[in-house]
Amino acid sequence: MASAPELQGHLDGLLLAVLHGGPRHGYAIAEELRRRSGGEFDLPEGTIYPALHRLEQASLLTSRWEVVQGRRRRVYALSRLGSEAVGERVASWRAFSRAIDAVLAPVAAETVP
């Protein structure tokens, strides 16, 4: 299970990726993050809100109060800049992931039965 420090630096990209599927409020974002990761991310749910506010300040997200299922919610959506940033982060992550795999592969081949 990935802990909060391990996810640090990736949280912004993960939140942008979740919102790429459409606007969501904070609780729904946390739920979707848990669902997509198969419960692998051991992240205090409270950490996503400062990240959402930071992304909004960076103009990557927009937000507004909406009534969802009879309750007022702050709903977040990707801005045009945010949509561009998702693509860039995915490409950057793939390059990083390939590099890590390349370094780990020889060790993994020896240790994995």
């Binding site: 409020h25 904070g26 609780y27 946390a30 205090p44 749910e45 409270g46 950490t47 809100y49 400062p50 990240a51 506010h53 930071r54 300040q57 309750r71 007022r72 919610r73 702050r74």
Partner: protein, 144 residues
């Protein structure tokens, strides 16, 4: 456990936040709604309210940690605004200085000949030299 653990949590969070009133209200509201949704889901799964509230708060993380996340954000914003102000003032000063220099060089009104005797003398010398050259060339062309 208190009678209203979510209310207590939100109050603790509000006390630890070092942000403006509007942002504090928004954060408190978002966090309360999040915790209430979490409790509702747990109740729908058949958990007791007490257990649902305890788990919702545990999953959210401590009020102090959450507040620290927001307070860091504010600090970063202040640093950014201070840097932006410094850049703006420096750029304005550079542009103003540059404009003044260019204006001084190209505008004759800012360097009146009368105000600079040496310059006035130079002007007279150049003018008389030009006139004498013109006269000489006319004389030459007249002799041809």
């Amino acid at each position: 456990m208190s009678i209203d653990p979510i209310g207590t949590y939100v109050r603790d969070l509000r006390c630890s936040l070092r942000v403006g009133a509007a942002r504090r209200w928004r954060i408190s509201r978002e966090v309360r709604l999040h915790l209430e949704s979490s409790v509702e889901d747990a109740l729908a799964r058949g958990e007791t309210r007490e257990r649902a509230e305890r788990e919702a708060i545990a999953r959210f993380g401590s009020a102090e940690e959450t507040a620290t996340g927001f307070n860091r954000l504010r600090l970063r914003r202040r640093v950014y605004l201070r840097r932006a102000a410094i850049v703006a003032v420096t750029a304005s000063a550079t542009i103003a200085g540059g404009s003044a220099t260019v204006w001084a060089l190209v505008s004759p009104s800012t360097t009146p000949a009368a105000a600079h005797p040496m310059t006035a003398a130079s002007h007279r010398h150049v003018a008389s030299h030009a006139a004498s050259s013109h006269h000489a060339s006319r004389s030459r062309s007249g002799t041809r």
